[in-house]
């Protein structure tokens, strides 16, 4: 008796399996979708932060153009060089070369003790900047309300004592913060440059001194000593990143910026922390 039941059971399952299998096969044939496996492959290897640093809407979009060969893997600013190598190997395309960038908040309003007026409203830089041009006296400085920090997908920006400071090791240079900043204080600079001028105001030095102790006064000392590595715009000296200028520590020491605007990323971070500590005391 058991044998018969087993037989029927096997028969039922077999027939069911075959029938369903055939139906699925027909459906798959009818509704076949052409898809490029390379897109999925690239998407898998991309970081998936959807930061938009590559200029595309997100990683999925980037994977699509990547598979189509329109861009190179190095266009993704977030991936490390090993990750890029892995993508180029997987897709069998050239990795390409793109200069790595990094964000710098060019302002020392904390050190400069910029005067701020009473402000009552939304704690957001874009919103605050629209109320009579912002509550602080400097029209070009960091407002410190943290819009950039909230926009950063990598948590690389910290607000230390009402000013934004970038953590270099976390920043990938996607540029979201720079786009979010209503005052353009955040600049994207080559990742291998170490020293930057931490001021963003092209106003006359004398004007600046009224409300900020730490702004660049446009004394041109740096320009005189290092020539084309610096250029003056308005009354503000800037490192000439466009020409690939990299300022070395020695040069910085020889310049000895009178207001102390010319700093390395680490020095700037340390100064911000020290300032907060000092204020607490």
């Amino acid at each position: 008796m058991d044998n018969t039941i087993l037989l029927y059971a096997a028969l039922l399952m077999g027939i069911l399996g075959i029938v369903l299998g055939v139906i699925i096969a027909v459906f798959v044939k009818l509704f076949s979708v052409k898809s490029d496996p390379r897109v999925d492959l690239a998407l898998e290897l991309l970081p998936g932060a959807n930061c938009g640093g590559c200029g595309k809407a997100g990683c999925a979009d980037f994977a699509k153009v990547l598979a189509a060969g329109e861009v190179q893997p190095a266009n993704c600013p977030v991936s490390s060089s090993e990750q890029i190598a892995a993508i180029s190997l997987a897709l069998g395309i050239d990795a390409g070369e793109v200069e790595r960038m990094q964000a710098v908040v060019c302002c020392r309003s904390d050190i400069g003790e910029v005067r701020k007026m009473n402000y009552n409203g939304v704690q957001d830089c874009v919103a605050a900047n629209m109320v009579a041009g912002g509550p602080d006296e400097c029209r070009y400085g960091c407002l410190g309300l943290g819009t950039c920090a909230r926009k950063c997908p990598f948590g690389a920006i910290e607000i230390i004592g009402q000013v934004a400071v970038v953590h270099r090791e976390l920043c990938v240079g996607c540029g979201k913060c720079a786009a979010a900043c209503p005052r353009g204080v955040i600049k994207l600079v080559p990742a291998d440059s170490e020293y930057h001028i931490y001021c963003n105001s092209p106003e006359k030095g004398a004007n600046k001194r009224h409300f900020c102790k730490a702004g660049c006064i446009g004394c041109r000392k740096c320009e005189k000593l290092c020539g084309s590595k610096f250029k003056l715009s308005g009354f503000l000296s800037q490192v000439n990143y466009a020409d690939g200028a990299v300022v070395s520590g020695e040069e910085v020491r020889s310049i000895h910026c009178p207001v102390g605007c010319l700093l390395s990323v680490e020095e700037r971070l340390e100064a911000a922390y020290n300032k907060v500590k000092g204020n607490k005391k």
């Binding site: 957001d124 919103a127 009579a132 029209r139």
Partner: protein, 432 residues
Amino acid sequence: MTFSGGIHPVGDGKELSCHQAVRTAPLLEKYFVLLAENAGKPPVPVVKKGDKVKKYQLIARADGFVSANLHAPTSGEVGGIVEVPGPMGVPAAAVEIIADGEDAGEPPFEPLLNWESIDPEILKQRVIDAGLVGMGGASFPSHVKLSPPPGKEIDTLILNGAECEPYLTADHRLMFEKPEKVARGAAIFGRILGVRRPVIGVEINKGDAIEALERFEDRFGISVVPLLVRYPQGSEKQLINAVTKRAVRSGGLPMDAGCVVQNVGTAAALSDAVMKGIPLVERIVTVTGDVVFSPGNWKLKLGTPAIEAVKLAGGVTEEPGKLIFGGPMMGFAQKSFEVPVAKNTSGILLLPTGVSVNYEASGCIRCGRCVQGCPMNLMPCLLSTAIEADRFDLAYQNHVMDCMECGSCAYVCPDHRPLVQNIRRAKAELRK
């Protein structure tokens, strides 16, 4: 007659200054005439440091179509093109004029006493020459509104005498004291546009002004429409709706509904430009507020710093917590008392710390007062919560771009949420 939505500001502060006759300010030593004061492109200065100018002389020429001429408010010497604190908080370029104390100058244009029979184009040219702009707040060059593109038929001209902003009484006093000028200005605008019977919309809390204007109804062929008191009746779209029952489409201009709206102050200035041949160099400003010693209305020359206006009003009784150019609902908070008066400065308002709202929100309780109050039929509370979560896409879907920032929502909000500022932020982010 009125529109739907809106609010009734209680204790609107108009009684501080509405019984004070307009006084003319004494001559100052220096005036700082702002260049970038009209919407659109700033005019280009045609004078330089050291030039001697006469009163009414052209000092900056309109640059392009959406731009307006600027004239010297008094005679004297040009001290240069300087930077002064601007009404938007950032420094702005201004022509400094050091008065010579004579205040002498000839009207630069020929009076057009026969305006009822001459070519409307000549009248329109006069509007351009005299540098007229909308004096209600936006400062939009007037002639732009008088040049409808082909295909747009204008059948209604409305003069905005609603003055719905609390505290302000400049238009009220103007209509009461100079009804003839306002009525004639309306008729001239009507002639330029080919509109038969211009309408002046006035809120009924200005009964004396309505009475005064009605005396000129037949002489100039205008009609005065009394409107119920409600804010923001002075907004173009709401005024058109209140007077004609038409609705300007979302994102459209008043012209789309066949209407043109001009401010009563602009009409009075036009009357002067046509009858006397003088350009726009001064305006009536309400200097008021709970801390002002003696609030009132003054005829101030363009470029008068706010502090001088406060001096005229006898100073303050206590240190003000807020300085506002314009009315308390849509005006701009200022950083400095050095900001000069411009063509669109309808009021200089000083509020004590206790009266101005303190934006300190805990959480939206969805009471719906903002929804009832919104004249544009939006849902500010939903917009605000979406924006606070950085969901600008959601705000866009909920028509954040239709908001005109009248402030009705934030005024009625029991939680004192910065609704308007949130909406401004979303608009700025969405325009990027």
